[in-house]
Amino acid sequence: MTPDLVGGLESPDYASHDRAAHEPYVPVFTGEVKRELDELLTRYPTKMAALLPALWIVQRVRGWVSEEGMVEVADLLDLTPAYVKGVVTFYTMYHQHPVGKYFIQVCTTSPCGICGAEDVVKAFLRHTNAGELGITSPDGRFTVIEVECLGACGFATPVMVNEEFIESVTPEKVPDLLARLA
């Protein structure tokens, strides 16, 4: 094992993952949230079709989709946990482990790339202290990743912070943008 990986295991990211695994699981789909799912089920002729929306709800409530969350969704939709995991791992937007309070996605696909997106990524990594893509900053606040085409190429470089979409980000704008995130 390389020294880097040893350091990684001790990071707050992994610690919270570990803690979550030892606490009893509290179901997501109760009360109002369960009613939301019931309404969703009326939209489709099959239960399975509500899988993506159900997983979105889990992520909205918990911040990520844990294996226990997958089991709960599987039970509700008459699917197997393995099937649900297969679907979760196919899509890039479901977090399979906890992420920072602010999940920052920077588009670096060709059109943004030729407009200087690489420098925006570097600025985020430097100013958040995350240091590396996909690794949460030591204070647990920021996770920065590169994302493939956010579909706002004319407003290079687009950045998503959680659900918020920010257009025309340049390296110079990064410190102010981060300061705005309390």
């Binding site: 929306p53 679907v87 196919f90």
Partner: protein, 437 residues
């Protein structure tokens, strides 16, 4: 264009007329601007007549393939006793394309109306609008619009008092380029991994939930409303080139250009004027070198080819490329074509669903070799290897993602071979130094 700039006088704003007009987003505002009149008219017509008007107008799919919309609708056989479905493909993920995003965030009711018209025309009671998960703003506005339309009885079990049931549901994707492929979209909608299906059966026979389905792009459905209101003749006349390409088309422009944004022009508009006049030309002190005119998966044009192009389905083909989705990526002389193509290959390697071997391995190999050449580690044999891999990736897989990765590589090597060779022979890429103002 409307947003962020005023429309250019040479634009023809049919669909983009209300871009930047925040009041057009609400139901009241949309109705004040003539909204839902087309749906009212449609519900008073026989579905077959609507299909005929759309057929007559010459409207073709705006998502990339350019299939005649009226003909697609006519594949849905009425009275077969099965539920029909309409899917709106709003999974806009082709690099360079962001027109549907603008349509949905500024005129969400236009899409609700278009969906309702389309659903009625093909005998569907349910429409699913599949919007990619990253589009948080369009998702918000579309959900608001659908809610408002339901509350006002425009859609629902008795749409506008017609006695017809028309449901529209917004379905949020979860991050997968491949779900913009129509059969992958249906798989995803059913709650599966987004792996494309083998065709046939085509969606009109066995689509989502195994039922007859039509899948249309956002722009296509929105165009149906003005066609119904103003007639097929009016739409057909909007063409500067040939009768096979009619109407207006939204082009989203990005990359190294003065005024990026979404522009709406009549089919057959001269591309040269479009690039230099409407879009403002290259950044100061630079020159255009290449254009990818229809999203990352179409062949790259040299600027000479681009300048000779008429902007329609046939015009782009005549100049070595394709109209595709209308996502124009402009590249200036400050960019290394090898870097640009390597990044495109990386995109496809990331987005391959890994179902077909040619694509799963081919996109990864292409990326590795392209990046090796970019970093000055390539050999001259690599170029032949790339072309060989590209041939193995073309026309041999379930969907065209594999072909899409091969296309920019092949056209890039063909048209910009000297840049590849220079890097291989150890000469670093030297961008033309811009004259600083």
């Amino acid at each position: 264009m409307g947003y962020p700039n005023q429309p250019h006088q040479r634009e023809t704003t049919v669909l983009s007329r209300y871009f930047g007009d925040t009041e057009a987003r609400s139901l009241d505002g949309w109705k004040k601007r003539g909204g839902y009149k087309a749906l009212e008219k449609a519900l008073g017509m026989a579905p077959a007549d609507i299909v005929n008007v759309v057929k007559e107008s010459g409207l073709r799919g705006r998502g990339g393939a350019g299939f005649p919309t009226g003909m697609k609708w006519s594949f849905m056989k009425p009275g077969d006793g099965k539920p029909h479905y309409l899917c709106c493909n709003a999974d806009e993920s082709e690099p360079g394309t962001f027109k549907d995003r603008e349509l949905m965030r500024w005129t969400p009711h236009a899409l609700v109306e278009g969906c309702a018209i389309g659903a009625y025309a093909i005998g569907a009671e349910t429409t699913y609008v599949y919007i990619r998960g990253e589009f948080t703003e369009p998702l918000y506005w579309m959900e608001q619009a659908v809610k408002e339309a339901y509350a006002a009885g425009i859609i629902g079990k008795n749409a506008m008092g017609s006695g017809k049931r028309i449901d529209v549901h917004v379905h949020k994707g979860a991050g997968a380029y491949i779900c913009g492929e129509e059969t992958a979209l249906m798989e995803s909608l059913e709650g599966r991994r987004g792996n494309p299906r083998i065709k046939p059966p085509f969606p009109a026979v066995s689509g989502v939930f195994g039922m007859p389905t039509t899948i249309n792009n956002v722009e296509t459905l929105i165009a149906a409303a003005p066609i119904l209101m103003k007639g097929a003749e009016w739409y057909k006349k909007m063409s500067l080139s040939n009768p096979k390409s009619t109407g207006t088309k939204l082009f989203s422009v990005c990359g190294n250009v003065q005024r990026p944004g979404t522009y709406e022009v009549v089919m057959g508009f001269p591309f040269k004027e479009f690039l230099y006049d409407l879009c403002g030309g290259p950044p100061h002190g630079r020159k255009f070198k290449a254009v990818i005119p229809g999203g990352a998966s179409v062949p790259i044009q040299t600027i000479e080819e681009a300048e000779a192009t008429l902007m329609d389905y046939e015009g782009f083909v005549a100049q070595g490329s394709m109209l595709g989705s209308g996502g124009v990526i402009v590249i200036d002389d400050g960019q290394s074509m090898v870097s640009v193509i390597a990044r495109i290959a990386r995109f496809f390697a990331h987005e391959s669903c890994a179902q077909c071997t040619q694509c799963r391995e081919g996109t990864a190999w292409t990326t590795k070799i392209m990046e090796r050449i970019r970093d000055g580690q390539g050999t001259i044999e690599d170029l032949d290897t790339l072309l060989d891999i590209a041939e193995q990736m073309t026309g041999k897989t379930i969907c065209v993602l594999s072909d899409s990765c091969a296309v920019p590589v092949v056209s890039g090597i063909k048209k910009f071979r000297s840049e590849f060779e220079a890097l291989i022979q150890g000469r670093r890429f030297h961008p033309v130094i811009a004259a600083v103002a």
